[in-house]
């Protein structure tokens, strides 16, 4: 058949044979999902009308059609989430389309070893995301009061003539900002290091600005962990412990999961 195929993810062929695919609606709301069995790998996909999507118009819609992006992103996410509960799944990137089944089969066959390796990495494990936020102003006040280097500098400045004090205070402000960043990184890194002990793998992601999060406090850490299913509760208890211990000192912890293994099944 020569139509566009939207692929949600790849699952081990044995699992797909043992667990029938539930009825799930396709990307365009017409037609359902179906399995494409290959040797070791089964793709979960749906058909799209040929000619309805091109690389250019998908990118254009992602950039310019927020309604479409919101609806389709949720569809992709919800579908992959449901499938991940049933199968060990290597999730595909949003809008990964193949022009026909033969093309998909060739691509999968060429990467079969890598795909089966990805299955073995994620089997029985869960992906969790942790975002750590900090109220910069409160921590800054604390750092400014208690950091020995800043205290010493402040005492030194107080001995200077008024004119020089002005410029030295400006420099001191910069020092406080630098020490604040240092403190935030130090604390976040040590938490990440500690939490990594519960995980098979841990990756650090880029922090988002307040424009993106819509929050008043700042994101100081954004990381993902691949955790054995049996360790998840201990990991989350640890996060909760940090949350309780550090709530009063302007830190907040937001864990989310389990996610489909987006970060730990990628291969090039």
């Amino acid at each position: 058949m020569d139509g566009l195929i939207y692929v949600y993810g790849l699952v081990p062929a044995k699992e797909a044979a043992n667990q029938p695919l539930p009825p799930l609606q396709g990307f365009d709301g017409t037609g359902g999902l179906y399995a494409i069995p290959m040797q070791e790998v089964t793709a979960i996909a749906c058909d799209l009308e040929p000619g309805t999507y091109t690389e250019e118009n998908i990118e254009d819609r992602i950039q310019n059609e927020v309604d479409w992006l919101q609806e389709k992103a949720f569809h992709h996410h919800e579908t992959v989430m449901q499938l991940s509960r049933l199968y060990t799944m290597v999730p595909m990137k949003f809008c990964t389309l193949y022009k026909n089944e033969h093309n998909l089969q060739t691509a999968v066959q060429e990467s079969e070893t890598k795909i089966t390796r990805a299955f073995s990495i994620i089997t029985g494990n869960e992906e969790w995301n942790l975002k750590i936020y900090c109220d910069d102003e409160r921590l800054k006040a604390k750092v400014s009061r208690s950091h020995p280097e800043i205290e010493a500098k402040r005492a030194e400045i107080s001995q200077l003539p008024k004119g020089r004090q002005f410029f030295e205070k400006k420099k001191l402000d910069k020092l406080v900002d630098a020490k604040l960043e240092e403190e935030k990184n130090k604390i976040s890194e040590s938490i990440h290091h500690d939490l990594s002990d519960f995980a098979m793998q841990g990756n650090v992601k880029r922090n988002w600005s307040s424009d993106v999060t819509g929050r008043k406090d700042q994101m100081t850490w954004n990381s993902v962990y691949l955790i054995s299913g049996s360790e998840t509760e201990r990991f989350l208890e640890r996060v909760q412990q940090y949350e309780q211990d550090m709530k009063e000192t302007c830190w907040e912890f937001v864990a989310s999961g389990p996610w489909p293994a987006y970060h730990f099944s990628s291969f090039s």
Binding site: M92, N103, G214
Partner: protein
């Protein structure tokens, strides 16, 4: 109740979803495959971000619900009413 159960049904912001599905996941290259390039979040329309704020508001309510587009639509309308901002989703 285990912590995991309480988190599993927590709403996930659209921005969190976009961060992974546009950037991560697998796209096996082959001739004729259509696959988008990695899209940087900073280039996405800021309107998307309102959905993120909506989800945070809802997360604070600690309600157990599953995420759905309809739910977001309702919240978006409520947020727009509350903030008095024009509905940028409508043409």
């Amino acid at each position: 109740m285990p912590i995991q159960d309480s988190l599993e049904n927590k709403d996930i912001a659209l921005i969190d979803i976009l961060d992974v599905i546009l950037d991560k996941g697998v796209a096996i290259k082959a001739d004729l495959v259509i696959s988008i390039a990695g899209v940087d979040l900073v280039y996405l329309d800021l309107r998307v971000l309102i959905a993120s704020v909506e989800s945070l508001v809802q997360a604070q309510q600690r309600e157990r619900k599953t995420v759905s587009s309809e739910q977001f639509d309702r919240q978006r309308e409520a947020l727009i009413d509350a903030t008095g901002q024009p509905d940028k989703w409508k043409n």
